[in-house]
Every structure is written in structure tokens, then in C-alpha cells.
């Protein structure tokens, strides 16, 4: 039998096995919990496909059949080497162990970012206090006119739109700011620094402006219930961004790309928790903060209460993981 004849005979014998490869692979990819029989069949198919691919690569290189078999082999390889998936266990591990671990690593960066925020807030306060006419750089004309007329812009929020709409728009905005503070860390941390500094500067400047008109107490009352967690979360997202920048400046792996990938994968876990915390902050800012019926003491309790919950979540204690990780820390 000629070489081509042998190849023909072999291809004909294998065609039955290849004809429904597509549907088998789709089934295997779609399902996550395979039975032992299915797993053994998949492994057997993987071996058989490996043999077939090896033969066609030698006999029919660069042919469509080779490409199709290589494609199927790559898909089956991905299915077989896919990591076991247990979303409950994954979430438990994420909130109990992984996020607290990252937060501990970020501790220094969080302190640094908080310091930058405080210093720029102080600078904003000083600038507007010294040169009140510069408030036009930080606030809109409408806001300035309102405060000069003895009325905070926050008083009108619920008249403009209902609390539900305000909450959704605020939480979307805050999450976007946090994400931007994080991803701009890719510019060697400078983008993050800019976002944090601008936010601090504006907060300080606006407080100085309202103070000049005897309304800083009212603004503090508005900010207290949601602001503690909101500003903390922005600082944490900023710290995560700083870590991204640092991974490029001082790579921890063989290449900067690898170092960046590692840092992004690690710090993004914290960002997930930050987003969840900001969702609640959005609802506090939409329903509690603009409502004059809430007395100061309630706002203090809500603000500090949610702030304590935030730190309990970040340390893993809220999910029952704090003690274990603290112990590991001491041992480490």
C-alpha cells in the first residue's frame, strides 16, 4: 500500500471519532462538574487526539485537517487543565483570606495615600482661605451663588431627583472614581496620585469656602454618614493603584509585565470589596445624607458604624477569617 493509501485508510478509520468532536467539546466546556466516566472519556479522547495530531502534523503539515485537530486538541487541553471550580469555597477564600492578606500588604500604601489626601485637603483649605476668589476653580457658579446666598447645594438634591436615582448615580460615580484611581496607577502611580490629590484638594477647598460663610457644620453633617467610608475606599483604591505603579518602578518578578500582571491580579480583589462598600455608601448618600429628618447623632452612628463594618470586612473578621490571618501574621 502506498503512503497516501495508508494515510487514506488511517484517516477513514478515524473519521468517526473526529466527526462529533465539536459537540463533545461543547458539552465538556459547558459543564463544570463532570462524572468520573465523562472525565475518563475526556482523558482518553485527549490521548487519542494527541496521537492523531502528531501523525497529521508529520504527514499533512499546514493542512486544514491539522489545524482543525490542533484546534480541538487545544480546546480539550483547556477543559482538562481547567482549575476545579467551587464558587462558594472561592468566595469564602477571597473574603476570609485573600483580601485581608492584600490589605495587610497595602497597609503602608494606604497610610501614604491617606497622608497625601489629608495634605492636599489642607492645601485646598489654605488656598481658598487665603484667596477666596479662587473658589471658581473648584466649584460651579451655581454652587458658589447658593452658598453665598446661605444655602448649601445639598439641600436641593432630593428636589432635583428622587433618592433612588440619586443613589444609583452617586454609587456609579464613586465606583468609577475608584476604578480610575486604581487603573491610572499604571502611569507609575502618578495618575493615582493626581486623582487622590485633586479629590483632597477639592474637599479642603470646598470646606474652607463653606466655612467662610458659616456653613461648614452643615456640610459636615451632610458628609458624615457616607463620607467616612467613601473617602476611605477611594484612598484604598488609590493605594491599590500605587501598588500597580510600584510594580512597574520596582518589579517583583523577572519582567515588568509579569510584575504588573501579578500586582493587578492581587490588588483587584480589594477593588471588588471596595465596589460593594460603595454601593451601600451610594444608598446612604441618596437616602440618609440629604434628609434633614436625620439628627446628627444618627449620622455619626451610621457613618462610624459603616466605617467599622468596612474595616471588619477588609480585615476578614466580618467573614470569620480575621483571627486565623492575625495568627498567621504573628507566625510569619
Amino acid at each position: 500500500m502506498s503512503e497516501n493509501g495508508g494515510l487514506q485508510a488511517w484517516a477513514t478509520s478515524r473519521i468517526a471519532a473526529w466527526s462529533d468532536l465539536g459537540s463533545i467539546l461543547n458539552r465538556l466546556e459547558r459543564k463544570r462538574d463532570h462524572t468520573v466516566t465523562e472525565t475518563l472519556r475526556a482523558i482518553e479522547l485527549y490521548r487519542a487526539l494527541g496521537r492523531d495530531l502528531s501523525i497529521v502534523r508529520r504527514t499533512l503539515p499546514a493542512s486544514r485537517m491539522t489545524r482543525a485537530l490542533a484546534q480541538s486538541y487545544a480546546r480539550l487541553h483547556a477543559v482538562i487543565y481547567r482549575k476545579p471550580h467551587n464558587w462558594r469555597e472561592r468566595l469564602r477564600s477571597l473574603f476570609q483570606d485573600e483580601i485581608p492578606q492584600v490589605v495587610r500588604e497595602l497597609r503602608g500604601a494606604i497610610q501614604l495615600v491617606a497622608l497625601v489626601f489629608a495634605l492636599t485637603a489642607g492645601a485646598g483649605w489654605w488656598l481658598i482661605n487665603t484667596y477666596p476668589e479662587l473658589i471658581g476653580l473648584l466649584a460651579s457658579e451655581q454652587m458658589i451663588d447658593g452658598v453665598e446666598g446661605g444655602k448649601l447645594w445639598t439641600e436641593d438634591i432630593v428636589n432635583v431627583a428622587p433618592s433612588s436615582v440619586i443613589s444609583v448615580s452617586i454609587l456609579a460615580n464613586n465606583i468609577t472614581v475608584s476604578i480610575v484611581a486604581f487603573v491610572l496607577g499604571v502611569f507609575f502611580g502618578l495618575g493615582t496620585f493626581y486623582i487622590i490629590a485633586m479629590n483632597g484638594f477639592m474637599l479642603g477647598g470646598i470646606f474652607a469656602f463653606t466655612h467662610q460663610h458659616g456653613m461648614s457644620g452643615e456640610l459636615l453633617e451632610f458628609v458624615l454618614a457616607h463620607g467616612l467610608v467613601e473617602l476611605s475606599v477611594i484612598c484604598i483604591a488609590g493605594a491599590a493603584g500605587m501598588m500597580l505603579g510600584e510594580s512597574l518602578i520596582r518589579p517583583t518578578h523577572a519582567t515588568r509585565r509579569e510584575s504588573f500582571r501579578h500586582a493587578a491580579g492581587k490588588t483587584s480583589k480589594v477593588l471588588l470589596l471596595c465596589a460593594l462598600l460603595l454601593i451601600v455608601c451610594g444608598f446612604i448618600e441618596g437616602y440618609v445624607s440629604p434628609d434633614p429628618d436625620y439628627p446628627m447623632i444618627n449620622r455619626v452612628v451610621i457613618g462610624f458604624g459603616w466605617w467599622i463594618v468596612m474595616w471588619a470586612a477588609l480585615s476578614g473578621r466580618l467573614f470569620g477569617g480575621g483571627k486565623k490571618t492575625s495568627l498567621q501574621d504573628e507566625q510569619g
Binding site: 487514506q8 502528531s54 486544514r64 482543525a68 486538541y73 487541553h77 504588573f260 483587584s268
Partner: protein, 240 residues
């Protein structure tokens, strides 16, 4: 210039080769997805509007229900199209499927939900300043044609043509006396038939037929029309 490839070594000793999708395939998939998500979002907006106002009329202040049930889902469909579908379709989206590409990890695996979310978080940066300019420049300049989101998430966009059915079908032609190489070439030509101009496909088809049917005279081959040539090639593959 051939597309870059990554080779994964496996325990069976048979390497897995993945062809990296270039900027063209990536942009093609994105444009399709962009249209789909825009149409889906607009469809929700239009249907929601029609149901809410019982027609196309508009009230100046439609209220919070309109924002929450009509506008918000419209924005959510647009913003979460990529992350939700990439997770649900294991690294694919309708646009990627049509463009014949899919996302994999650097180890060739299906990316995790976390990686896909992270990849989409960096979309903010990749889309700067307009029209995904940062992402496009990164894709063109990097070895594996990846945007910043892919670098952060450790993902790659690879070619994923589902051509197995027709490729394996062509091997049945082995029974007709064709060599597997010739059957493969004929199948390739037939697949690309609509994309080739008449002169090119006629020349290739005549060359192929002269090789697999040496008994046909050159004059007879020259007289065959494009339709006849295609019929003959199909008959060669279909003959049992």
C-alpha cells in the same frame, strides 16, 4: 507575515499551538460586539419607552420609575455586555465568535471570572482618550497583540475557527481516490470560493482538476465556466 503563536507543552508530548489574533481580528470582533450591545441597549430603551409612555410621546419629567426601569437597564446592558458575556460564554462574546477568536489564559486555559472582570476594568484606560486609542497602540506594539487589560489579567486573544466539521468531512473524500492533500486543497478552495475573484478561483480550480483528473483535456478544462468548475470540485469531494 505570519501571526505570532504560543506553544504550550503538554504531558502527552504533543504541543498545543495557539495562534494569536492580530489587531485586525480584534478590531473586527470589537466592532461587531459594539453594534450588538448598542442595538440591544437601544432596543431596551425603545421598548421600555413604548411600554412606559404607551407610545413615542415624551413627558418633560418622567419620574424615577422611568430612570430605574428604562434608562438604568439600558446603561447596564451597554456597560456590562462584555464582562457578563465573556464570563457566561467562557472567554467568547457573539462578536468574538463571529470573528473566530476567543480569550484564553497564558496557559491556554479558559480564563476565570476574576481575570475577565479585571480585563474589563482596564477598558477605562484602554479606551482613552477616544476610540480605544491607548488599547489599539498597545495591541499594535506588543508581541502578543494584547491591550493593557489583557496584560493585567494575563489573557490572550487567540484564533478559534470552528472549521472542524468541513475539514474532517474532506477526509471522507479519501474514499473517492483523492489523496488527503488534494482533498484538503479542494476543500480549502471551495471554502474560499466566494471571497476569490473569478479569474483567480478559475485558475486554481483548473490546476487542481488537471492534477486530480489527468484524463480531462486541457481544452475541455479551459471551456468550463466558474459554475462548472465548482460543480466538478464538489463532485470530487462528494463521490463515494
Amino acid at each position: 507575515m505570519s501571526s505570532p503563536q504560543i506553544t504550550l507543552q503538554t504531558v502527552t508530548g504533543v504541543d498545543v499551538e495557539l495562534t494569536i489574533a492580530g489587531p485586525g481580528s480584534r478590531a473586527y470582533a470589537f466592532v461587531i460586539d459594539w453594534h450588538i450591545r448598542l442595538l440591544l441597549a437601544l432596543q431596551w430603551l425603545l421598548v421600555g419607552h413604548l411600554i412606559f409612555f404607551r407610545g413615542l410621546k415624551m413627558t418633560p419629567n418622567p419620574g424615577s420609575s422611568y430612570v430605574l426601569w428604562v434608562w438604568l437597564p439600558t446603561v447596564l446592558i451597554y456597560v456590562f455586555y462584555h464582562p457578563v458575556l465573556e464570563i457566561a460564554m467562557r472567554g467568547r462574546t457573539p462578536g468574538k465568535r463571529i470573528a473566530g477568536v476567543r480569550l484564553v489564559t497564558r496557559e491556554g486555559d479558559i480564563p476565570s471570572a476574576g481575570s475577565l472582570l479585571l480585563r474589563n476594568v482596564f477598558r477605562i484606560l484602554d479606551s482613552l482618550p477616544v476610540c480605544y486609542l491607548v488599547g489599539l497602540i498597545t495591541v499594535v506594539l506588543t508581541e502578543h497583540h494584547v491591550r493593557i487589560g489583557d496584560i493585567a489579567a494575563g489573557t490572550l486573544l487567540v484564533m478559534d475557527h470552528d472549521s472542524s466539521a468541513s475539514s474532517f468531512a474532506s477526509t471522507t473524500a479519501a474514499k473517492s481516490g483523492l489523496t488527503p492533500q488534494a482533498a484538503d486543497l479542494i476543500q480549502e478552495l471551495l471554502d474560499r470560493w466566494p471571497a476569490l475573484d473569478e479569474h483567480t478561483r478559475g485558475t486554481i480550480a483548473r490546476t487542481l482538476l488537471a492534477r486530480v483528473e489527468p484524463q480531462i483535456a486541457a481544452d475541455d478544462l479551459a471551456r468550463l465556466t466558474s459554475l462548472d468548475l465548482r460543480e466538478r470540485l464538489l463532485a470530487k469531494l462528494a463521490r463515494q
